[in-house]
Amino acid sequence: MPSIDDQLRTRMRDAAPKPTGDGDMVEHLAARKRRRAGVRRAGTVGLVVVVLAGTTGAFVALGRAFRTEPIPGTSPTLSQPPPDLGLGFPICDVMSMPITVAGASGNAYVFTKATDGCPKPGEGHRFVGADLDGNGTVDATAPELTDCFSPVGCEAFAAPDVNGDGTSEIAVSTAGADGYGVWLYAVTTSPAAVEPIIVVDPQGIGNVQTGPLQFAWVDVVGHSGGARCNALPNGTTFTIFGVDKLDPNADARFTDLRIAGVTATVVGASHDRVPIADAPVPRNSLCGAPLYGSASNFPNAAPNPKTVDIGLDAPLCDASSLEADFDGDGKQDTAWVGTFPTNGTCVASDTSAAIAAVDLDGDGLADGSYETLPRCLLCRTYATTDLNADGASELVVLLQASATPEYAIYGASSVTGGDSPGMSPMLVATGNAENGFPDGSQLTFSAAGDEGYSSAVQCEGYPDAPVLVLWRSEHPVEGPGADVTDVHETKLQLVSGSFAVVDARHFTQPTSDPLPFDSLESSGCGVQWFPPE
């Protein structure tokens, strides 16, 4: 009889799942490598995280009866496949989105050729096609999509009209480890065709690679990338941007393209250093067209943003609110978070100034506000809790609705003497720089984490003497140091409007050791920090 070790060796090897990928793996890996390079060119490398905002409906405030009124995101249009859309072969995993072709309605489809069942997303032969007249049959398809990475695969992304000619372009995405790669296709009617748009750069001025038009759609810890349309007197340009967010400034590259038919000509390029808060970030629309598929949950810019008029300079766009007693007078107050409109309309502006405001006297109008929340990405009122046990609630603002949600704390001050009421961010008290919290900086912190780092938020002493416990660990995913994890634990107490570090420790441990905190289950001080609920 074989030894237990031999039995385990045999049974575990037999039981180990086998790779399912078929086709030429070298080619598949080469494509994956090319995409990594492409995404890096667009400015997305480093410690990264797929910004998969939970559905906006998931961001519901916790505790008591306080609840945001979420703006519904664009639902993915996943449908059971019709017979074959007139293609003559069976298809599956069909995604569709409406398009406009010379003013008429049609549909774009992304589908997989069914061969003995439906291949898993990211595998098999996948195509993009268009029904130009809405009669339910595909009139044209583009060459087979490549670089459709598992587990999501290629998806219908958006159908914007990027050049204002009355016909939609079709954007198709592939979801990778650090965001989306997006390709843009042109639709033509005579003859019917769906073709990749090709970038040409006759003057050699662009920050973009020539060939098939592709760009990243990503917003991660250190980088972001996306595209937007700019309506100019002489026509619409399509601008691709890539941003390296290097504190305190962002390094932003822009490339302006003039798209006509299947040709995108580089007409301008720039390279700027801008404050991180002003750097462009992608939202959940492309040139005004909603995103579909898994990207539909990309943060912010709901198609019909909710506005509220709370007596500020302009109605507040994309507003969320919570009620609590923010000044400790025993009455319910209201706090809002939102953005100001640009030129009178709510748009997915990259430079929207997000604000937090509060109504302390119950008249429905803001009594105080604080503008420009840091790194706002689908900022929302998230929760209320009393973090200093003074009987008045603090407002927890969700700054970044992502796989690594980031939070800040705001507090209201009532009218005292000659002071005006206000809504102020809670800062870090002086003398805590050695623990990574610069004097007077706004306290922001995150939960969860991603490649190479984890974080968690816990609490001690709540509700009588709350102490916020912030955990963070980090290690390179590969290369030197990847086997050692740095762990930081910092305890902060809110006193007189600022957080003071009351205890901190730092240590290292083998990366393979379990972390001393659970980054997937963060809660404390009356708040569910992760996962957001």
């Binding site: 037999d14 070298v26 796989a403």
Partner: protein, 169 residues
């Protein structure tokens, strides 16, 4: 790494690496993705002129690191995107279920030690180096993992068998 080397690696080592990572993470698809990502990163490194002494161990280490992050990410994906159209998962065999359950009951560290030893055939020294711990700790973890797996899988050993305790190389 040229194409010949890559093809040989994919043929000889890739399936077992995917299986090993899948046994640790419990998810074959993400394991395959993590191993592929690790291979691509190794490929990039070699193109930059870096030398990777033991490619299979390097890929295993990076893939396991990636899988830790992926577990978190998948958790978020499940929250954000509950429906993903695709073929129904293949039902695993009975023994695969037994092994998966037995491994799932182990703490991750013991699970990794067991998989690195029994599936990837790493020595105690190699496991200790990869997990940045002592050989004594690896032996201890392996002993516990072995005992649990033997019990969970009802493994019996011939009393005359010389190897009556966990291997220590």
């Amino acid at each position: 790494m040229d194409e010949v080397e890559l093809r040989e690696f994919l043929r000889e080592r890739y399936p077992r690496l995917v299986g090993a990572v899948a046994l640790v993470t419990g998810d074959a698809a993400s394991a395959e993705d993590a191993v592929q990502e690790a291979i691509v990163r190794a490929w990039e490194r070699t193109e930059r002129g870096e030398q990777i002494a033991a490619l299979d161990r390097w890929v295993a280490a990076v893939a396991l690191n990636l899988s830790r992050s992926r577990l978190r990410r998948l958790r978020v994906e499940r929250l954000a995107r509950p429906k993903l159209v695709g073929a129904p998962p293949v039902q695993p065999s009975g023994d695969r279920v037994d092994i998966a359950r037995a491994l799932a009951d182990l703490p991750r560290r013991q699970r990794e030690v067991a998989v690195l030893r029994y599936v990837l055939d790493l020595s105690t020294e190699e496991i200790a180096k990869q997990m940045r711990t002592s050989e004594g700790t690896v032996k201890s973890q392996l002993f516990k993992a072995r005992a649990h797996l033997a019990d969970a899988l009802s493994l019996v050993e011939d009393p005359d068998e010389e190897n009556s305790h966990a291997e220590h190389r």
